[in-house]
């Protein structure tokens, strides 16, 4: 298993290196050892919280994706397919367009978080039958709700002013520029427990992937495990959406990439998908704030542009697709 160790080291160290690099690189390079006042301020109060938020969001999305593909037994599952993001976007865009400010700069975050939770709960209710959550029901309920909320979102956007439309678009494509230290504790409070639950129930997740009867014979209650994992995913996704809007593709792509590197044992897949997601979002954000500086691009666009081709390459190369 020497190879495995090397891979593990690689998967852990790459995101850490990326994180470090995302601090010193940007529109202009900053050497942390000879930084003047302005550079130090940029480093500590602008870049550091931003990179941490990127890391957190990416981790939440990566881990959610890995868990969801497992509990839904579907390689196409990602946190957004459940429609959680469209509920969050709808709530946030309503807030942006109505100019809601009742909680100051937290308003839109709180709105999107509640939107995500409400949507998640609705998907859960729709997916619930005969004492438990059923994968196909969850998936279809998610897709159905997602269409409904997207339609409402489009409706809102088509009757809004051009200015409101632009603000809404910027938010929907993901925006990390407003990351502040003060918002990180709230993100941590939801993302870390989510990842922790997923890690603790990773064995059960492995069993669920093999089928409900199999899980049952191993002593897991499939419905109970699925419910716990679903709640964990809901919390992580809602937290990530409220931290920085919708960042596409990480939840779908990263688990597949990680699976092709370390295999599909959830005990490894979940933590490494989290790390990989964090690393990818960090680098996507670095690119989005640097290439056209001082103009910033939405990070969600960059993740999809660098992510999709690699995903397609993997797809062509692999003979068997599994979850």
């Amino acid at each position: 298993m020497k190879n495995m160790k090397l891979r593990t080291v690689l998967i852990i160290s790459v995101p850490i290196i990326i994180f470090g690099f995302s601090l010193i690189a940007g529109p202009r390079m900053i050497n942390p050892f000879v930084a003047d006042d302005i550079s130090r301020e940029i480093l500590f109060s602008i870049r550091a919280p931003r990179s941490i938020v990127a890391l957190l969001m990416g981790m939440a999305l990566g881990a959610s994706g890995a868990v969801l593909q497992g509990i839904l037994k579907n390689p196409l599952a990602d946190p957004y397919i459940l429609g959680i993001s469209s509920g969050a976007s709808l709530a946030a865009v309503v807030g942006i367009m109505a100019g809601a400010v009742f909680l100051g700069s937290f308003t839109i975050r709180v709105l999107s978080f509640s939107g995500a939770l409400i949507n998640g709960t609705m998907v859960g209710i729709m997916g619930w039958k005969r004492g438990g959550l059923w994968p196909e029901r969850l998936l279809l309920a998610g897709v159905g709700l997602s269409f409904f909320f997207s339609a409402l979102l489009m409706l809102l956007m088509s009757i809004s002013s051009d200015e409101g439309l632009r603000k809404a678009m910027l938010w929907i494509f993901g925006d990390l520029s407003m990351s502040e230290w003060s918002k990180i504790p709230y993100g941590l409070a939801f993302v870390l427990p989510g990842i922790l639950i997923a890690l603790l129930r990773a064995k059960a997740l492995n069993a669920l992937i093999l089928g409900d009867e199999f899980a049952h014979s191993l002593g897991f209650s499939p419905h109970r495990e699925r419910f716990i994992l679903f709640v964990a995913v809901g919390l992580m996704t809602a937290a990530s959406v409220s931290l920085g809007g919708m960042i596409g593709f990480i939840g779908l792509l990263v688990p597949h990439i990680i699976r092709s590197v370390i295999g599909s044992d959830s005990r490894l897949l979940v933590p490494f998908s989290a790390l990989g997601g964090g690393g990818l979002l960090c680098i996507a954000d670095l690119i989005s704030r640097s290439v056209l500086a001082p103009t910033e691009l939405p990070a969600g666009i960059v993740t999809a542009i660098i992510g999709s081709p690699y995903f397609l390459y993997l797809l062509r190369r692999k003979n068997v697709l599994s979850i």
Binding site: G26, P27, R28, D37, I38, E41, I42, S45, I46, R47, G99, V101, G104, S105, I108, S158, I159, S161, D162, E163, R166, K167, L170, W171, D175, S177, M178, E180, R289, L292, A293, P294, T295, E296, L297, P298
Partner: protein, 286 residues
């Protein structure tokens, strides 16, 4: 062919040509010798303001959903948005002329109207210096020549005055914020940037990729603006701007209390634009 036939052919050709000429001239003169239009539709908020300023307000029979100034404009029948007005609504109001603007309205819509034999007028000015000519042309096209001349002369006078004043130094580093979260600012090609240039101020977002770019906060700190303007007034922007201003507290503007909430007059090129420029000038002088 006999001579008679040849003469006959010649006459027919002549008559035909004569007809062509009459048709041509009648069309030509129809489009120029205008009688003032009685039913006007405006498809841009700036154009609506201009029409009211030219005293044509009572002839307006339709406006967009965004035409909110002056107050009377809100009461006019609506024909949809700027980028997606309803053709049906426009046609059913039987306008004599439809006024469009070159930035806000799709070109195809104007072509469609013309193909339906509806007269159009496109307000094409994009910069403050082009405003007087734009006003005069509009006055001619809509039959409000005197009012337009007076308004244009006033605008010209104010522009010249601003240009003279510019000699005294207003060369300060400025950032004009359109929206704080995410940070969107006035970039090149915006009327605001044009105004800052006219005043001789240095817009730190003058060289960016788009007109209203999403701007890097660390670059704001790095470029250290001496004055920060926030558009659209204190009431609507105060609370949403809090977070951003906290993060910009080390900039000279924030340290010296040079953060000003200003009007949104500069968001539209129209009769109120100069007021907006003068407002900025006032703050730049402080």
């Amino acid at each position: 062919m006999t001579d008679l036939e040849r003469t006959f052919c010649g006459v027919v050709k002549l008559i035909f040509l004569f007809f062509l000429f009459t048709i041509y001239f009648s069309l030509f003169t129809a489009s120029y010798a205008v009688e003032p239009p009685k039913r006007i539709i405006s498809l841009a908020p700036a154009a609506t303001e201009m029409l009211f300023a030219l005293g044509l307000g009572d002839r307006i029979v339709g406006v967009t959903n965004f035409c909110d100034y002056p107050e009377e404009a809100r009461k006019k029948p609506k024909v949809g948005g700027m980028s997606n007005p309803s053709l049906e609504a426009v046609v059913s109001l039987k306008p004599d002329i439809v006024v469009l603007s070159v930035d806000g309205n799709p070109k195809e819509f104007e072509e469609r109207l013309r193909s339906m034999k509806i007269r159009t007028y496109v307000f094409y000015s994009k910069r403050i210096s082009e405003l007087p000519k734009g006003i005069r042309d509009m006055g001619v096209a809509l039959g409000a020549k005197e009012k337009a001349e007076a308004l244009a002369a006033d605008v010209e006078h104010r522009i010249n005055k601003l240009r003279e004043n510019k000699k005294t130094s207003l060369k300060k580093k400025v950032l004009f914020i359109i929206w704080p979260e995410p940070l969107m600012v006035a970039g090149p090609g915006s009327i605001t940037d044009d105004a800052l240039q006219m005043l001789g101020a240095d817009n730190i977002a003058a060289r960016t990729a788009s007109t209203y770019p999403k701007y890097s906060i660390e670059e704001v700190i790095r470029r250290a603006p001496e004055i920060i303007f926030i558009g659209k007034g204190q009431n609507s922007m105060n609370e949403v701007s809090e977070g951003l201003l906290r993060r910009l507290k080390s900039t000279p503007a924030a340290r010296n209390n040079k953060v000003f909430y200003v009007s949104d007059y500069l968001y539209r090129l129209g009769p109120r634009t100069l007021e907006g420029v003068e407002e900025l000038e006032g703050y730049l002088r402080q």
